[in-house]
């Protein structure tokens, strides 16, 4: 049953993105806002706005009861969770289905199964997908040392209950394990309520590549190509692109095949992303995790395939016919996205909320801006620092890099500090132009000389 009215359960640029897609499909929109977002662009664009609670996320956007209650009371037949917040919490998906509200995303069971990293690894293993050589949960330092002996140093320890770098550390020898194990477990306990750690081999020269997928819930899954998200700082992506230009055809084909295999084995429904590490030296791909939501960087996949992924999310959720023929999807351009953050890169990336006096993004062919900002917008201090995304598209990577350099040059934001300066530095760096980057490149090569 095609969706008629959706509750947009997020904020900022993704709320605007979801409303745009809904409007294109003739779906009415109800935007929920915290007190701090009453005057936001999403609130202005939506057919109706409801104020949930105070500015603090836990009293507004992070309260599943408030969200579902608002959906029911405004006669919404569906709810779109966006990314972050509760988008990967089975509790929200469950509450929606308990109350007859269609959750625009996978089922609660799928979210549950793939949300636990260790369970996800087991599922991938069963589906015949290669994993980074690693372990199950590691209870203590002694077990860690034993495991490391089997895997071979260097190793990386990760939290099974969550990501974003918390509870994560690299160990090059037994001493490193001694120093960091307990601390990491405590960090994970604090961040995710679960201190369980596991271990993987550390891949030194790695690319973070991920595959955008869409499933119909009945076993059919298509992909929209891969993205290269290797430019990261503290495991947060900064620049993403599509496709991963340095991957040879055979590895790329294996990547896509693995992603499809994994998710069709679960009858995956709606949009998702399967993340892998690509070992540049050995040409191996290793499964890392699945993100059961639309992601920040989805626009680059849209730009190179011509697809509208958020519209497809609505169509799948509403049971409408969607073309699931892989041969109809072609990647034939190159796109790069830079995340624009309200932060001061020269001062340890401290967040920089405040009023934007002038918001002057670049314009021209092949330039796309996904943002909720405008002249006079007050960037609130309560939420994450991303204020927009700049996406450029061109015929190939070299042309895309040139276009991005010019676009960043043209971009003017006055009134708050942003990461535009470091983005300009990244994109014009010889390593970036030569596509000789890795997941450690930004931190080890660029940030070091940028601080000067």
């Amino acid at each position: 049953m095609p969706l008629k009215k959706v509750l947009v359960a997020n904020r900022g640029e993704i709320a605007v993105r979801v409303i745009r897609a809904a409007q294109a499909l003739g779906i009415e929109t109800v935007q929920v806002v915290s007190d701090a977002d009453r005057d936001s662009l999403a609130a202005h664009m939506a057919d109706r706005t409801v104020v949930l609670g105070p500015a603090q996320s836990r009293l507004s956007y992070l309260d599943p009861k408030l969200l579902v209650h608002a959906a029911i009371k405004t006669d919404c037949d569906s709810l779109h969770p966006g990314y972050g917040f509760l988008s990967e919490r089975a509790e929200l998906a469950d509450l929606c289905s308990d109350h007859g509200v269609v959750f625009v995303g996978p089922t609660a069971d799928t979210i549950d199964a793939l949300g636990d990293k260790l369970r996800a690894r087991a599922i991938a293993k069963d589906a015949g997908v290669a994993l980074v050589p690693g372990t199950d949960s590691i209870a203590n330092v002694d077990q860690a040392k034993q495991a490391a002996e089997g895997i071979g140093f260097p190793v990386v320890m990760k939290a099974s209950a969550g990501g974003g770098g918390r509870g994560m550390f690299i160990a090059r020898d037994y001493a490193d394990l001694d120093v960091s194990f307990d601390k990491a477990s405590a960090e994970a306990e604090e961040a995710f309520g679960d201190g369980t750690l596991y271990m993987e081999r550390f891949v030194g020269n790695a690319r973070h590549v991920e595959v955008q997928v869409l499933g119909d819930g009945d076993g059919r899954v298509v992909h929209f190509g891969e993205r290269d998200c290797s430019t990261q700082r503290r495991y947060q992506k900064v620049v993403e692109e599509a496709p991963c230009a340095i991957m040879p055809t055979d590895a790329r084909a294996k990547l896509h095949r693995s992603a499809i295999q994994l998710l069709s084995s679960l009858n995956y429904r709606n949009a998702g992303t399967v993340e892998f590490l690509y070992d540049v030296d050995t040409n191996d791909i290793y499964f890392i995790e699945v993100n059961t939501r639309i992601q920040v960087e989805h626009p680059v996949s849209e730009q190179v395939t011509g697809a509208d992924l958020v519209q497809l999310q609505f169509k799948v959720a509403g049971g409408e016919p969607v073309d699931f023929d892989q041969s109809h999807i072609h990647v034939n351009r190159h796109a790069i996205e830079c995340r624009i953050n309200a932060e001061d890169a020269s001062n340890n990336f401290t967040p920089s909320p405040g009023r934007i006096a002038t918001w002057q993004p670049p314009r021209g062919a092949g330039i796309r801006i996904d943002s909720h900002c405008a002249d006079g917008y007050l960037v609130p201090p309560y939420y994450d620092s991303m204020i927009g995304k700049l996406i450029v598209t061109a015929s190939d990577r070299d042309a895309a890099v040139e276009r991005m350099i010019a676009a960043l040059e043209e971009f003017q934001i006055v009134g708050i500090t942003t990461n535009l300066p470091i983005l300009r530095h990244i994109v014009s760096h010889p390593d970036f132009k030569d596509n000789a980057i890795s997941t450690r490149w930004l931190e080890s090569s660029v940030l070091a000389d940028f601080q000067q």
Partner: protein
């Protein structure tokens, strides 16, 4: 349970004892029974737990006086208008989005009526979110001048619920 007999009541008491509920109030045409683990309880004062079970009334303090200007979103969007409160009067505001209830349970007398005297901790209404009921208190001593919301209406965070004329 029509024409309940001693056995039915015994079953209810057994079930209650086996459960982890603190109290139970059951009312049908033929029977009204109140069971509680609290030796000081004198009868039902709380909301009825709903069919889905969990009831967790959370105490909140009512919003203090606030004479902010009305916040109206420009044409194209429909947001609920938070009205001005006249000089000298105090507004009790919604602590979060939810459904406004005038009485502890359907059919029961409402917490307050216009003209009633209230103290700071007098309960004036309930805000319900997904079966979670939060009593809202007057916040000041005075007289109820206006009850701004109809029973069962959805309210948003900060919306004016009740207007009180404070005692001098």
């Amino acid at each position: 349970m029509a024409n309940p007999d001693a056995k039915d009541i015994e079953s209810l008491v057994t079930l209650f004892n086996q459960s982890d509920w603190d109290e139970m109030h059951l009312k049908t045409d033929d029977l009204e029974i109140f069971l509680s683990n609290d030796p000081k309880a004198t009868g039902p004062t709380q909301m009825i737990a709903t069919a889905t079970g969990a009831l967790a009334p959370v105490e909140t303090s009512a919003q203090s006086a606030d004479t902010d200007e009305a916040k109206i979103t420009p044409a194209g969007a429909d947001t609920t208008v938070v009205t001005d409160v006249a000089d000298g009067l105090l507004a009790v505001r919604a602590p979060n989005l939810g459904t406004f209830y005038r009485a502890p349970k359907p059919g029961a007398p409402p917490y307050i009526e216009v003209g009633q005297a209230v103290e700071p901790d007098t309960e004036v209404c309930l805000i319900e979110v997904m079966k979670l009921f939060t009593p809202v208190r007057a916040g000041s001593a005075g007289v109820v001048r206006e009850i701004c919301i109809a029973d069962g209406q959805m309210v948003e965070f900060g919306q004016v619920l009740v207007i009180i004329e404070p005692r001098a």
